[in-house]
C-alpha cells in the first residue's frame, strides 16, 4: 500500500490572510502546507505602497510587506508550494484536494484565495490585453514613461494606482463612471494634490479602447452621462481598476456555501458549511478588503483550526487506500 500525503492543514492561497494563519499554525507545531498559484503575498505584493498597515508609521512597500510575511511563515516551518488547487471534497473525514501536484489530503483546510481584477468588457479590452490594457500598475507602469494614460475606476485602488502612475506618465485621465468617488477622503485629497497631472472625469463611462493600424492603443472613447455626449481622450495605455471578483470558481458544485456574488459564507468561527474548512480574507462574505483585516482573520482562522484539530484528534482518521499509484510529490 502506498502512503497517501496527509497534512494537518492545507491553505489555499498565500496572501496576507493565509501567511498570517500559517505563522500561527506552524508556531503551534501544526503541519502546514500552502498552495500558491500566483504571487506569494497575494494582492498585497502587487500594491506599490501600503500606508495603513499598523506598525509601519512611514508606510511600507507592498512587496516588502509580502516578503516579510513570507519569511516569517517559512521561519516557523510553513511549506509554500507553487501550484494550484482545483477542487475540494470530503472523504472518510478528511478533505481531498485536487492540485497541480496531484491529490493530497488534509485534516482541515483554510481557503484564502482572495479575489482577482474585474474586466470592463468593452471593445478593445481583450485585443490590447498586455499591449496597452493593464490591470497591474506596479508591474507594467514602467512602460509608460513620458506617455499619456487613462485609468478607469473611482475606488481606492484606482486612485492609489493613478497616483503611482504619475511617476511615469506625462498625463493621466481618470474615468469615473459614477457621480461620486468611492475612494477614501485621504486618497481624494492626495488626488487633488496631483491635479497638474491627473484630470478626473466624473459620470463618464468607458465604452471602447481604440487602437491604430500598428496595433497600438491611441485613445479611449466614453460617454459623459450628464449630457450623453461622446468623450474621447488620447492615451498610449489604459489601466483598469473597477473592482474585484472572488476566486471561488473552483468551489462551484461543492458543499461550500457561497453568497450571491460568489464569496464564501462562514459562521462566526470562520468555518464554512463544510466542517473543517475555514475561510479568511478578501474571499470571505462580509470581508472589508484590507490587509489588516485579512491578517486579523488569518490569525482567528488559525486559532479555530487548532481547536478543530484538537477535537478531531480525539477520533482516529485513516486516509483512504488509493486505487492507483501514489501521486504525492
Amino acid at each position: 500500500m502506498t502512503q497517501q500525503e496527509v497534512h494537518d492543514v492545507v491553505m489555499i492561497g498565500a496572501g496576507p490572510a493565509a501567511l498570517t494563519a500559517a505563522i500561527y499554525t506552524t508556531r503551534e507545531d501544526i503541519d502546514t502546507v500552502l498552495f500558491e498559484k500566483g504571487v506569494i503575498g497575494g494582492l498585497a505584493a502587487v500594491t506599490d505602497w501600503v500606508d495603513n498597515y499598523p506598525g509601519f508609521p512611514k508606510g511600507i512597500s507592498g512587496l516588502d510587506l509580502a516578503q516579510g510575511l513570507n519569511e516569517q511563515a517559512e521561519r516557523f516551518g510553513a511549506v509554500i508550494r507553487l501550484g494550484e488547487v482545483f477542487g475540494i471534497a470530503e472523504t472518510n473525514g478528511l478533505k481531498k484536494l485536487s492540485t497541480s501536484d496531484g491529490d493530497i489530503f488534509a485534516k482541515s483546510v483554510l481557503i484564502a484565495t482572495g479575489s482577482d481584477y474585474k474586466k470592463i468588457g468593452v471593445p478593445g479590452e481583450q485585443e490590447f490585453y498586455g499591449k496597452g490594457v493593464h490591470y497591474c500598475a506596479t508591474c507594467d507602469g514602467a512602460f509608460y514613461r513620458d506617455k499619456r494614460l487613462v485609468v478607469v475606476g473611482g475606488g481606492n485602488s484606482a486612485v492609489q494606482e493613478a497616483i503611482f502612475l504619475t511617476r511615469f506618465a506625462t498625463h493621466i485621465d481618470l474615468l469615473v463612471r459614477g457621480d461620486k468617488m468611492r475612494a477614501s477622503e485621504i486618497l481624494q485629497k492626495e488626488l487633488k494634490e496631483h491635479a497638474d497631472k491627473i484630470t478626473v472625469h466624473m459620470n463618464t463611462t468607458t465604452d471602447e479602447i481604440v487602437g491604430n493600424e500598428e496595433g497600438k492603443v491611441v485613445a479611449v472613447k466614453g460617454t459623459d452621462k450628464t449630457n450623453n455626449s461622446e468623450v474621447e481622450v488620447a492615451a498610449d495605455g489604459v489601466f483598469v481598476f473597477v473592482g474585484l471578483s472572488p476566486n471561488t470558481d473552483f468551489l462551484q458544485g461543492t458543499d461550500i456555501r457561497l453568497d450571491e456574488i460568489g464569496m464564501i459564507v462562514t459562521d462566526a468561527n470562520l468555518e464554512t458549511s463544510m466542517p473543517g474548512v475555514f475561510a479568511a480574507g478578501d474571499v470571505r462574505s462580509g470581508a472589508t478588503m484590507q490587509i489588516a483585516s485579512a491578517t486579523g482573520e488569518g490569525a482567528t482562522a488559525a486559532l479555530m483550526i487548532r481547536k478543530y484539530l484538537e477535537n478531531k484528534d480525539k477520533h482516529v482518521v485513516t486516509p483512504p487506500v488509493p486505487a492507483v499509484a501514489d501521486v504525492s510529490t
Binding site: 500566483g38 504571487v39 506569494i40 503575498g41 505584493a45 502587487v46 506599490d48 512597500s61 507592498g62 512587496l63 509580502a66 516578503q67 507553487l82 498586455g130 499591449k131 496597452g132 493593464h134 497591474c136 506596479t138 508591474c139 507594467d140 507602469g141 514602467a142 512602460f143 509608460y144 514613461r145 495605455g237
Partner: protein
Amino acid sequence: MVKNITIFTTNTCAYCVMVKKWLGAKGYRYEEVNLDVNPERQKEAFEMSGQMAVPVTVVTKQDDSKEVVVGYNLSKLAPALA
C-alpha cells in the same frame, strides 16, 4: 538544452520576484535586466515579447533559438526550459 536565460524586470514587479524564485528553486542561473535601471532596453523587451509587460523571460537554447515567456506563467515557463 538551455544555453542562457535573461529576465527583464522592474523594481516594483512582484511577478518578477516569483519568476526569479522559481528559476532559483529549479537551479537555473539567469541574467536580470532591470528596466528601471536600464530604461533604454525597454524597446528590446517589447520587441522580444510584443507586450508592454514584465517579467519577460527569454530562454536561449543551444542552437540559439529563443523562447519568450511573458508573465509568471508556469505552464509556459516549464516547457520553455525543457
